[in-house]
């Protein structure tokens, strides 16, 4: 059992406030991922939870108890660092057993726990090596093993996979997901990587400049971004953002005029907007396809063929470039004129302040 509650958590370095009041509830056994651009405060927030960074103001609760003034070792957390931070002068076994040894756990029990963790992580053959005799992936597993043996209530990860190559990253991702299930632990995970965030998270927290922009399940963020920032940040390739104006509103949604008069109807709540308001229309790359009857006209600038996918870069009549993602290998060629059919249901309208107009219907998978 471990829940985490953050209440108006703030952090200042001198006069500079880097975390500007974060409220967050993390349920037991939840896998929570912090994402956000570099320097937005992900690590700082994680380190405050860990106890490595002092909390300037606000309350941090673990299982309902305020732990602001509890030392890092006594919060019942374990942390896996980006650099792994293995003790270079200790063997793998001693690395993993260190916390237990400091806690005065008898030798047999220590060995038992280390062996158990080594089994889970397939580190058995390496227990007597030192970290420098291991590969990157193995070091990563030792770092995880070091946190497992302590049987923590919450695991904290700060970009644990960013030093690994792409193949190994994919493999470790699966392994971490399996661990999450096997250990039934609460995990908080910081990453830069969209794929990691989307695939592993129960809940994603999007941060920008020390402020939480949105919290929700991966598909919720994808299908119902709360604002321009989240819409642009989640999803790859990025959502296309077209400036436009509201043509008219009714109960079925909002009609938006963009790029030289094309009109797109989005089924979004229209209570707070009126015809003539300037808005931004967000179109996911997969929400468009070439079609003679399409609303948007343009010319193909570039076609990126990835095999299973094709990315078309299309210059619209007003000069803006949008990216269109098509299934399979498409034959469209550069300089060819195209019309793009936009699926209004998959579009998002953001008002002048950047807030999304809520969709009339929720995506079935985004609760």
């Amino acid at each position: 059992m471990a829940t985490l509650n953050l209440r108006n958590i703030r952090k200042s370095y001198g006069p500079v406030e880097t975390i500007k009041g974060v409220d967050l509830d993390i349920a037991d056994q939840e896998f929570v991922v912090f994402v956000g651009p570099s320097g937005c405060g992900k690590s700082t927030l994680l380190r405050m939870i860990a106890g490595l960074e002092e909390i300037t103001s606000g309350d941090l609760m673990i299982d309902g108890k305020r732990v602001n003034d509890v030392g890092p070792a006594d919060r019942g957390l374990a942390m896996v660092f980006q650099s792994y931070a293995l003790y270079p002068h200790m063997t793998v076994r001693n690395n993993m057993a260190f916390a237990l040894k400091l806690a005065g756990v008898p030798k047999e029990e220590r060995d038992r726990k280390v062996d158990e963790a080594a089994r889970i992580l397939q580190l058995g053959p390496y227990l007597d090596r030192t970290p420098k005799e291991l590969s990157g992936g193995q070091r990563q597993r030792v770092a995880i093993g070091r946190s497992i043996v302590r049987n923590p209530r919450v695991f904290l990860f700060d970009e644990p996979l960013s030093n690994l190559d792409a193949a190994l990253r994919g493999q470790m991702r699966i392994e971490l997901a399996r661990l999450h299930e096997e250990l039934a632990a609460t995990m908080v995970y910081v990453t830069h990587d969209q794929v990691e965030a989307m695939t592993m998270a129960d809940k994603i927290v999007v941060l920008q400049s020390g402020v939480v922009e949105q919290v929700g399940s991966p598909l919720e963020l994808y299908h119902h971004p709360a604002n321009l920032f989240v819409g642009g940040f989640i999803g790859s390739p990025r959502m296309n953002m077209l400036p436009g104006r509201i043509a008219h509103v009714d109960r079925t949604g909002v009609a938006v005029d963009v790029a030289g008069g094309a009109r797109i109807v989005v089924p979004a709540e229209s209570t707070n907007v009126a015809a003539g308001n300037p808005v931004t229309l967000g179109i996911r790359p997969e929400a468009m396809r070439p079609e003679p009857a399409g609303q948007l006209a343009g010319e193909v600038l570039l076609a990126e063929r990835l095999g299973g996918l094709t990315l078309l870069h299309v210059t619209l009549t007003d000069g803006q470039v949008v990216v269109v993602q098509l299934e399979g290998s498409d034959s469209t060629r550069p300089h060819q004129p195209v019309r793009l059919l936009v699926d209004g249901e998959a579009c998002h309208v953001f008002n002048e302040a950047g807030r999304a107009l809520p969709h009339l219907e929720r995506h079935p998978l985004a609760a």
């Binding site: 860990a50 106890g51 490595l52 030392g71 890092p72 070792a73 006594d74 957390l77 374990a78 942390m79 660092f81 980006q82 650099s83 931070a85 293995l86 003790y87 270079p88 002068h89 260190f98 916390a99 400091l102 806690a103 070091r146 302590r150």
Partner: protein, 273 residues
């Protein structure tokens, strides 16, 4: 790149030529130390001769040689240990618990090294004479420790800074308090750095020749002073001078060779990697 073979030969010859030229006085000193006094001053110089250890034997017979050597060892080791005793805690504090003042403290320490010893020779001499510690090992140990303190602090600071912050944080997550952190993490991780700092201090003390020449005469005089006493008798004792010099230089030369990499890092305050 057709001339690369020629270039390689040229570089090889040049490299060895320069190395041998630079080392020649030392090589010649060692060679001379194995000659008789007559061979040593023969003209033209002898490159082939009957080696003899007679000069070493004679140097050894001058009973006081060993007292000089012993002084050198005691003073260098004593001075270095004393400097470390003061520096390790200070460098630890500054490297692992820095405050806004740390930077200026460090630079101030470095600037005290800029105070030329000649500038304070007179008062130190008078102080020592009034404290009756002129020509004592203890006196020189104190001076050497103080003389090297800034460099030793700097060098330790540089080595301590190289301990990754995250490793100490991992230790804190694992429940290591100040004491356990010191015992299980810092000590083993910084011991090599402390050792090479001690080595550099040892080298500097061993070779120091300003304070030792001015503050000692016989009882506490180290090898630098002993060797300096050879400066008067012209020419006649080349072999013995060489033998004595060889013994005086050899241990520190080997130390220096062994620790050259760490010396670079330490002496340049980590500015050169």
């Amino acid at each position: 790149m057709k001339d690369s073979a020629a270039k390689r030969i040229f570089i090889t010859i040049l490299g060895w030529l320069v190395a041998l030229l630079l080392a020649f006085p030392i090589i010649w000193m060692v060679m001379t130390s194995f000659k008789t006094e007559t061979d040593a001053i023969s003209t033209p110089p002898l490159f082939v001769w009957h080696p003899t250890v007679a000069s070493y034997a004679e140097v050894q017979e001058r009973a006081n040689y060993f007292s000089f050597a012993l002084n050198s060892i005691l003073i260098s080791v004593g001075g270095s240990l004393l400097a470390l005793a003061f520096s390790v805690p200070a460098a630890y504090a500054m490297a692992f618990h820095p405050t806004p003042r740390t930077r200026s403290t460090l630079l101030w320490m470095l600037s005290t090294k800029m105070l030329p010893p000649v500038g304070v020779l007179v008062p130190i001499y008078l102080l020592f004479s009034s404290l009756n510690i002129l020509d004592t090992r203890g006196g020189l140990i104190i001076v050497y420790a103080l003389m090297n303190l800034p460099i030793v602090v700097w060098m330790l600071f540089t080595f301590f800074k190289e301990v990754p912050r995250e490793i100490l944080e991992a230790g804190r997550m694992d429940g290591a308090g100040v004491w356990n952190e010191m015992r299980y993490l810092l000590m083993p991780l910084t011991l090599p750095g402390i050792a090479s700092t001690g080595l550099l201090s040892l080298i500097l003390c061993w070779n120091e020749a300003f304070w030792s020449l001015n503050l000692t005469s016989s009882a506490a005089a180290p090898l630098t002073t002993f060797i300096a006493s050879f400066s008067s008798p012209e020419g006649l004792f080349f072999a013995k001078l060489s033998a004595a010099s060889t013994i005086a230089v050899a241990p520190i030369l080997i130390f220096g060779w062994l620790s050259q990499r760490q010396l670079v890092r330490g002496m340049t305050f980590g500015a050169v990697k």
